[in-house]
Symmetry: C2
Subunit: 153 residues, 2 copies
Amino acid sequence: MLRIGKLTDYATVVMAELAEHPGECWSASQVAEVTRLELPTVAKVLKTLAKSGLIDSVRGVNGGYRLHDPAESVSVAAIIRAMEGPIALTECALEPGRCSREHECSLKGNWKRIGETVEHALESLSLADLAAPGNPGLHLVTRTGPRSAKRGN
Amino acid sequence: MLRIGKLTDYATVVMAELAEHPGECWSASQVAEVTRLELPTVAKVLKTLAKSGLIDSVRGVNGGYRLHDPAESVSVAAIIRAMEGPIALTECALEPGRCSREHECSLKGNWKRIGETVEHALESLSLADLAAPGNPGLHLVTRTGPRSAKRGN
DNA sequence: TAAAATAATACCAAATTGGTCTTGTTTTTC
DNA sequence: GAAAAACAAGACCAATTTGGTATTATTTTA
């Protein structure tokens, strides 16, 4: 079924939640409560997202996390990449030397191209599309979206 | 990394091998030898592919497997579906009731749409594209391709 | 300076997946 | 017509990956 990890799924939920409150700082506890996910799980997801730069982490008493970019500018592909690394469907498509039968495989570069096709499709979907419930049409990712930072708390 | 199962990867290798000999009947042993894959693994893959109708199985002494449709008519998506079931990235996109937090999830139908986007991308790639080593341009899947059945052996 | 709140790290358990073996069926030859 | 050989089909077992949890370290404010 071509699955992604559950943590990646959770990541989109968390990101969508943060996207609904642009600029505001939300602690892991708050996010866990509103998303009905377990706190440690949310913390792990937030950590990974922060490490990749998709969200900013603020330590201290009133710290938490907030989106680094507006929801319209972050693609679904970026979220998946943050959680699972480079988008590829097979090992051989990631980097040479991973597959033992690399030289005797007839469809070497083709899987790489397939992965790129999928990635391109995911690149065209934005976080704003996910966050908006039941929106009829999907927007394209815009790299020029307004930085709607209210600088919360 | 958005991975597919190894068996699915092997399935494409096996299908590509069969595609190079249209109409011919190849036993599991023969396929295993030429693909350098383990015989039981190949047998398992062939069984699954046959059950889905992508290949035909012929029992008996000189039996084996052969492609049911010409390579140009079978899409990568079809192979993935045969090995992994319906193409979806999350459980909730498969069918209602799978996810416990379905009613409280804000991005219910969106994952379904994402899966469809990916599937559409995979649908446009044919087995002939995989089989052809290093071909520069990818062909689209044609449902009207010539049934190049030589009826082998 | 101390306490409280939060992020980061490391560890453990469970589920899925990949691989192997055994059994059953068909066909051909004697 | 019977027996043997070849092949497909199904069931079982082990390993890797993934998800979840607990603990530790750091920062900030009172």
